[in-house]
């Protein structure tokens, strides 16, 4: 015990004594200056990138724990990757307890900011933007924590991503809040992740506003416990400009919120307005799959206390117009594909789940039954009333990370 205290005192003391600010300013050799600072930083240090435009031909990366990288504001410190020749992302973070904040990232060739395997990653007051507008040749993700833990995305903006603006994949303990995603294919996407709060964000003018997905054949799957609350999900009617082949290429333009193959998802207190397709769509995984461990069904999805307005006027997905016509011309706020059964690959037999899709707003089920049944075979019927899930406590991140992200 005494030893532990001594070590704690030494660690605390040394980090306080040695934590330093490394300043980098614009000018020649921006690439080498920035990358050198990111390599030479020690735990506890802050790398300050002064206001200015930094033209970068290669990606940057950080692999030191406990570092804060800070600009002078998302419109003042600009990392410009327009001429990027190398690397799959603008900035790659592979260390723990990192805070990246107050800067802008323009036109990365691939993803904007990626963290891989980080425990403690906060992306705060960032702007990632493809300045030429939405194009299929833009990079895939703006903010992209993957295989990470204790993830915070706060007060950030992403525009123009050809996949998802804000994408958290295969991660756990996640908060995405007070951020804005517009003109992306998907605004915000939580995929193959556990324990996430998506709160107080605005997703507008994307093809799909907020997605909660789970996909097969991945190291982490069985996405669950995701809560979407107090978000503005408005006018997500942008044409879907994703490269075919990607899962988001199948997201119909006009989708507000889409939940696929996840368990324990709560959609509460959101303002979902002006989305021409479904305000909230709850579906099974749509493709054939060979992963025996994968569950393609949505389970226990609760939709309560949202404000729905002016959605469902002209659904663009296959069979959508016919379904809308069958229910009076406009889709109700909630649509479930009604898939409750799937065949386990490799002759593993049929499995089923009752779905547990609950909504306090009007909804329909397409009653498709078996996973893989095309929507043309829909037998729309009103969603039967079911019990709504009880609210749960919010996700909590380590206090030290939150303090540095203030």
């Amino acid at each position: 015990m005494r030893m532990a205290l001594l070590i704690a005192a030494l660690l605390g003391g040394s980090s306080l004594a040695q934590a330093k600010m490394i300043h980098v300013g614009p000018g020649d050799n921006a690439q080498e200056k920035l990358q050198t600072a990111l390599i030479e930083a020690q735990p506890g240090d802050t790398v300050h990138i002064a206001a200015g435009r930094y033209a970068l031909a290669d990606g940057l990366s950080l692999d030191v724990d406990g570092v804060t990288v800070k600009g002078d504001g998302p419109d003042k410190t600009i990392l410009d990757f327009t001429a990027q020749k190398v690397a799959g992302e603008g900035l790659l973070i592979t260390s723990d307890n990192v805070v990246l904040r107050d800067l802008g990232i323009e036109n990365p060739a691939g993803n904007g900011v990626k963290s891989k395997g980080s425990d403690g990653i906060a992306l705060v007051n960032l702007r990632v933007e493809w300045t030429g507008g939405p194009k299929s040749t833009n990079g895939a993700y703006g903010l992209y924590p993957v295989s990470s833990k204790n993830v915070l995305i706060d007060r950030s903006v992403v525009k123009g991503a050809s996949d998802a603006g804000i994408y958290v994949g295969q991660s756990q303990n996640i908060i995405v809040r007070n951020s804005r995603a517009e003109m992306n294919v998907a605004g915000i996407e939580i995929e193959n992740s556990y324990d996430a709060d998506v709160v107080g964000n605005t997703a507008t003018n994307n093809a799909g506003g907020i997605l909660v997905f789970d996909l097969p054949d991945l190291p982490q799957q069985g996405g669950r416990n995701v809560k979407l609350t107090n978000n503005q999900v408005i006018d997500n009617n942008h044409v879907n400009f994703a490269a075919p082949g990607n899962i988001v290429a199948g997201v119909p333009s006009g989708t507000g919120i889409m939940v696929m193959a996840n368990a324990n998802v709560m959609v509460t207190g959101n303002h979902v307005m002006g989305n021409n397709g479904s305000a909230v769509m709850v579906v099974a995984y749509t493709q054939a799959f060979t992963d025996k461990a994968y569950n393609p069904l949505p389970r226990a999805v609760s939709i309560a206390g949202n404000h729905f307005m002016n959605n469902g006027k002209s659904p663009s997905f296959a069979g959508g117009k016919e379904i809308a016509a069958a229910v009076g011309g406009t889709l109700p706020p909630v649509m479930w594909d009604g898939i409750t059964r799937y065949n386990v690959p490799g002759g593993g037999g049929e499995k089923s789940a009752d779905g547990g899709i609950a909504s306090d707003a009007p909804g329909i089920t397409l009653n498709l039954g078996l996973q893989g049944t095309p929507p043309a075979q829909a037998k729309p019927a009103p969603l039967a009333p079911t019990k709504l899930a009880a609210d749960r406590a919010p996700i909590v991140l380590p206090a030290a990370l939150e303090a540095r992200a203030k």
Binding site: V86, G110, P252, T286, Q287, P374
Partner: protein, 350 residues
């Protein structure tokens, strides 16, 4: 007695010319020459042993020369998969050079950089030394080196050869949280030096540098460019070496679910009828990593051909497409048939 101590102290202060293991273990030397791995003429010091791989990583046609130095009296332990378990103190060396004309690969060689993997007590450390007037110097942040050469077809090529920064070294040499060697696996060393002579595993064991070599049953990675070997083995070897360092369960691309290591047996994880996860425009509009029989509808080949960041694979380490490697993988995918029972057909999104 006093004289003996004095002599020992003197030795400690200034060892005889040769490999400076004391410096290697303790410091990132600013100049490659400080470590004494090579003499001024570029000849390896005693104990710095050359080795070759059956299938090497493609690096924009650079010629690469590999060496291993193990502290005297130490041995690597045999491993059937992954790199051999090298003892603390080991240095693995890779020197990169470009011939002026690839059709005469031994002539007019221009050295570019020397990469070291040093096994210190706390783990492996990756350092790169870039040739400059007066010798190779440490570059942590990477650097671009303009390189010109005549390719095998006789065309002039000019590239910005990219020396990786320290983090990029780790991106590829990553196994979980640790840095690991990639090249010297039992399977890739299982062949003669430069394809000739005694088997390297046997030679290492015979010279006391490899322990635990079983009497037989060693894995062997095919030579990717030996047309006499089976196509499947050549293609798997090529993908293992050029992609498998990231595309493995402990590698940088673990989250992709695409695992191109020699041991992988699940078709979906090898890419067969596997849909992309986070490929973005890297998908090229294709639905599957590998669509059997359809190389031009396979994302994997599309990303090998590309040389644009955000699409190209590997993400760094090359500026040019490897035409011969592309041809091999094209031929391999074309030869594949759709596995029975795996129906790529799918329902449309509702």
């Amino acid at each position: 007695m006093r004289r003996i101590w004095a002599a020992l102290l003197l030795l400690g202060a200034a060892p005889a010319p040769g490999v400076r293991s004391d410096l290697l273990m303790a410091t990132d030397a600013p100049r490659l020459a400080d470590y004494g791995l090579f003499n001024a003429a570029g000849q390896p010091a005693p104990g710095v042993q050359p080795y070759t791989l059956n299938t090497p990583l493609f690096s924009d046609h650079a010629e690469k020369f590999r060496f291993a130095w193990l502290p005297p009296g130490t041995k690597a332990d045999y491993r059937a998969s992954g790199a051999l378990a090298f003892p603390v103190g080991t240095v693995l060396v890779k020197r990169f050079a470009f011939p002026a004309d690839l059709r005469q690969p031994t002539k007019a060689m221009r050295p570019i950089e020397t990469r070291l993997l040093i096994h210190r007590a706390a783990g492996w450390v990756a350092l790169s030394y870039v040739e400059q007037d007066g010798g190779a110097v440490l570059k942590r942040a990477g650097v671009k080196v303009p390189v010109q050469f005549i390719d095998k077809a006789g065309n002039a090529q000019a590239i910005d050869y990219a020396v990786p920064n320290q983090n990029q070294c780790k991106t590829c040499h990553q196994d979980g949280e640790a840095i690991t060697p990639i090249g010297p696996t039992a399977g890739n060393l299982n062949g003669g030096l430069s394809g000739q002579g005694a088997n390297q595993l046997m030679a290492w064991a015979a010279s006391g540098r490899l322990a635990g070599l079983p009497t037989g049953g060693w894995p062997r990675l095919a030579k990717w460019d030996d047309a006499a070997e089976p196509l499947d083995a050549r293609a798997r070897a090529y993908l293992a070496v050029n992609c498998g360092h990231c595309h493995s369960r402990g590698g940088f691309a673990s989250n992709s679910g695409l695992y191109l290591v020699p041991e992988e047996t699940t078709p979906a994880h090898m890419g067969v009828l596997k849909r992309p996860v986070a490929a973005g425009r890297g998908s090229g509009g294709h639905e599957f990593s590998i669509l059997p029989g359809q190389p031009d509808k396979s994302i994997l080949l599309h990303r090998m051909i590309a040389s644009e960041p955000g699409i190209m694979m590997p993400q760094f380490g090359r500026a040019l497409a490897h035409d011969d490697g592309v041809a091999l993988i094209r031929q391999w995918i074309a030869s594949m048939s759709v596995p029975t029972g795996a129906a790529p057909a799918a329902a449309a999104t509702p």
